[in-house]
C-alpha cells in the first residue's frame, strides 16, 4: 500500500514532466544571437560562458558566492559547536 502511494506520486511527477516537455519549441533565442555576436567585444572574454558568468550575469554570480558563504558559515556553525550556546532560553 505504501509502495503503491509512492509509485503513484512518482507517476504524477512523470506525467507532469512528459506533458510539459511535449511539443515543438523554437531554438532561436535573441539572447544567444546577441551574445555570440557581441560577447567577446562587450566583456573581452573569449570564453562566452565566462563572459556571461562574470559579465552579463555577474549579479547571479555574486548571489551564488553568497549562497556558498552561507553554506560555509552554516556548516561551521552547526558542526563545530558541540556544546549548546551559553545563554539558553528556558524553552525547548
Amino acid at each position: 500500500m505504501k509502495r503503491a502511494v509512492e509509485i503513484a506520486a512518482a507517476a504524477v511527477v512523470a506525467v507532469f514532466l512528459i506533458l510539459a516537455l511535449a511539443g515543438d519549441h523554437p531554438t532561436e533565442s535573441p539572447i544567444r544571437e546577441y551574445i555570440v555576436a557581441h560577447g567577446v567585444d562587450d566583456t573581452g572574454a573569449v570564453n562566452l560562458v565566462a563572459s556571461i558568468y562574470l559579465g552579463y550575469r555577474a549579479f547571479d554570480t555574486l548571489g551564488e558566492t553568497i549562497v556558498l558563504l552561507i553554506a560555509v558559515s552554516g556548516v561551521m556553525f552547526l558542526v563545530k559547536r558541540s556544546k549548546p550556546p551559553a545563554d539558553r532560553d528556558g524553552d525547548l
Binding site: 533565442s29 549562497v67 556548516v75
Partner: protein, 116 residues
C-alpha cells in the same frame, strides 16, 4: 527521446526523496534530481550548435557554437545544489549524533514526541 530519459532521472530523484527513509539517501536523491535539471538545461543548450562557446581565433569558422547561457546558469545552479547538500549533511550529522540513526521515521517520532 533524450528528453524522456532525463525526465526519468528526475522522477527517480523525486521518488527517492519520497520513498527512501534514510536521510543521507534522501539527500543523494535530491542531488540526482538536481542533476537532472542541470542536464535539461545543458542538453537544450547543446541542441543549437556544434562547437564549444569559445570564440578564440583558431576555432573552426562557420560552425555555430552552442548556447552558452544555460551553461552559465547551470554553474550557478550547481553551486547552489552543493551548498544545499552541505547544509543538509551538517543538519543530518547533528541529528545522527543525537539519535544514533539516519532513519527519518525514527528521528521524527523521537523529536516530535519530545514536546507532547
Amino acid at each position: 527521446m533524450s528528453w524522456y530519459l532525463i525526465a526519468a532521472i528526475f522522477v527517480v530523484g523525486i521518488w527517492g526523496v519520497i520513498a527512501i527513509p534514510n536521510l543521507i539517501k534522501k539527500v543523494i536523491a535530491l542531488s540526482v534530481a538536481n542533476s537532472a535539471i542541470i542536464v535539461f538545461f545543458v542538453y537544450y543548450g547543446s541542441l543549437s550548435g556544434r562547437t564549444a562557446p569559445i570564440l578564440s581565433p583558431d576555432a573552426p569558422a562557420g560552425v555555430p557554437p552552442v548556447d552558452p547561457l544555460p551553461q552559465a546558469l547551470m554553474l550557478t545552479a550547481i553551486v547552489v545544489g552543493v551548498c544545499i547538500t552541505a547544509l543538509a549533511l551538517a543538519l543530518i550529522y547533528r541529528l545522527y549524533k543525537r539519535y544514533g540513526t539516519l532513519d527519518a521515521r525514527t528521528i521524527e517520532r523521537a523529536v516530535w514526541e519530545l514536546d507532547e
